[in-house]
């Protein structure tokens, strides 16, 4: 873009701001016209905003004065609160990136996480299962609050021999399918889940594919399952 064009655009934007859109629409060069329009949009944004932005700030300031201190080290705070409310549930005191919980009171803790006004984790973003080795499976919950716009991650480890975790399907309804998928892939059983069955794989599939010790079954309904090919990786 050369200087002439810059000048021209500046002029046009001035006119546009004054409400006169015709000079912009009359430009024949498409690129120039679109640039002028884009510049106009930007100019309008920087022109009107003070009051609206201030307004937004005020509103958000009011609603989250208490939360701000909470959000800064959210995980630590949640950890402390969990320790207070549900003693013994916090497995690992280190809550820098995530909160490690014991499975026993998970259902109650989840309900509390959702209903506690200063946290209000009303949405379960993602639920993952993972085989972290050493005969341990882990369920991970990425929680998010629409109200406060903060996130946290909960981790619950269980032994591979008895992988049972309370279901939170009745707290966040989406957990229904997420837990079914985790069950399908890793064989973590979610107790009190009302409809726990495989979701992506067929009902009669054997084994839990995303476990690290998974062996592909030899045949499926009499069809030989092809072996992994050489040099495939």
């Amino acid at each position: 873009m050369n200087e002439d064009q810059d000048k021209l655009i500046a002029e046009l934007v001035e006119k546009g701001l004054a409400g006169d859109m015709e000079p912009i629409n009359e430009i024949e060069d498409r690129v120039l016209r679109s640039k002028a329009k884009a510049a106009l949009v930007k100019a309008k944004r920087s022109a009107k905003p003070q009051e609206t932005e201030d307004h937004v700030k005020k509103v958000s300031d009011k609603s989250s004065i208490d939360d701000k201190s909470l959000s800064e080290n959210l995980n630590e705070n949640i950890g402390e609160m969990v320790n207070e409310k549900f003693p013994g549930s916090l497995v690992n005191e280190n809550t820098e990136t995530h909160i490690q919980l014991a499975p026993d009171h998970w259902f109650e803790i989840a309900g509390w996480l959702k209903s506690e006004p200063s946290l209000s984790f009303d949405s379960l973003q993602c639920q993952t299962g993972i085989d972290i080795g050493e005969n341990t499976l882990e369920a991970r919950y990425n929680l998010h609050s629409m109200k406060h716009n903060h996130c946290t991650e909960i981790r619950i480890s269980v032994s591979i021999n008895k992988p049972v975790i309370p279901s939170v399907e009745q707290i966040w309804r989406i957990a229904d399918w997420f837990e079914r998928e985790t069950y399908d892939m890793l064989g973590i059983e979610f107790s009190d889940h009302r409809d726990l069955r495989r979701i992506l794989l067929p009902d009669d599939w054997e084994g839990w594919p995303l476990r690290k010790d998974y062996q592909v079954q030899e045949t499926y309904h009499g069809i030989e399952v092809p072996k992994m090919k050489e040099g495939w990786e």
Partner: protein, 373 residues
Amino acid sequence: MGVVHGQEMVLNIGPQHPATHGVLRLQVKTDGEVVSEITPYLGYLHRCFEKHCENVTYEQVIPYTDRCDYLASMTNNFGYVVAVEALMDIKVNDRVEHIRVIMAELQRIASHLLGLGAFGLDVGAFTPFLHMLRDRERILDLFEMTCGARLLYNYMWVGGLSHDLPVGFVESTYNFLDYFEPKIDEFVNLLVHNKIFVERTADIGRMPQEVAVSYGVTGPNLRASGVKWDLRKNDPYSIYKSFEFDVPVGEGGKGSVGDCWDRFYVRVLEMKESIKILRQALASLPKEGDIHQSIPKKIRPPKGTIYKRTESPRGDLGYYIESDGTNIPYRLKMRSPAFTALSVIDEIAAGWLLSDVLAILGSLDIVLGEIDR
């Protein structure tokens, strides 16, 4: 007037059915035309995405993400590379960011066009579908110009892009935008305000806010329920912070908030917003900048975990990546927006007529490739 109850009949919609947008099986219990219960059965398109990812290197995952949501491959790439870059702490230059945003927004328009067209098809309007595909074709031409592919691009790489923009791309995109902007009003006239279409969609399949949030419904479906939530605004990634655009929400223009009509109209409005973003991004596109500048020699993210969300045309697309320090992801989970959108179908569609169920299914704009992965 009382309701006559007859015998319940179990009906299998799918796996091969014109209105299931792929291979989905809905087992519905019907009493006459009234559907009392819907049980979705998934997995007909399961391709072991997550298992594959544990066996290939980080860069080899990108083509697989293409094939998950095959109608919005660019945004799938985008979400993945943003996640890996955050894990490795890579910063890409301004030109790359701009091109990525341009591609993502073009893809959003293309995806919405197909989604809206297919929705129209579900309620029996054949012509708008072809009009929308005609315009989608022009976007695909732009993509083909850039990377040679029309559907599965493998365009965004960790730390950069596969190709730079070709000569004349900016001009062609401006041409397309000038052509397309008035077309949106044509769609609006053809379908949105059509009396029969309004009758078929207004007040049908209302999704209340609490239900939408509890079921993890995101994207246009959530916004149609009146929740102003868009990751491009609320949790800005890439350079979305520097663009001016609105987040349209459903206002119940023809019926109540969160009905099928709102879900349709929000997508129409979103296309307009995407055009706004595109114009700004094209105008401020830096001339200089090497698109391969930040591509690492070896992609070996440090040990750690990341969950990164981006806004795909269908909603929050999340990648959960666990790295053990090697060049192969230890665990990669894709949180697909269509998966959560489909899970709500029993809640909002039970009790409606058979025709409505299919209209509601169409309004959720699901892609089975992403649900089954």
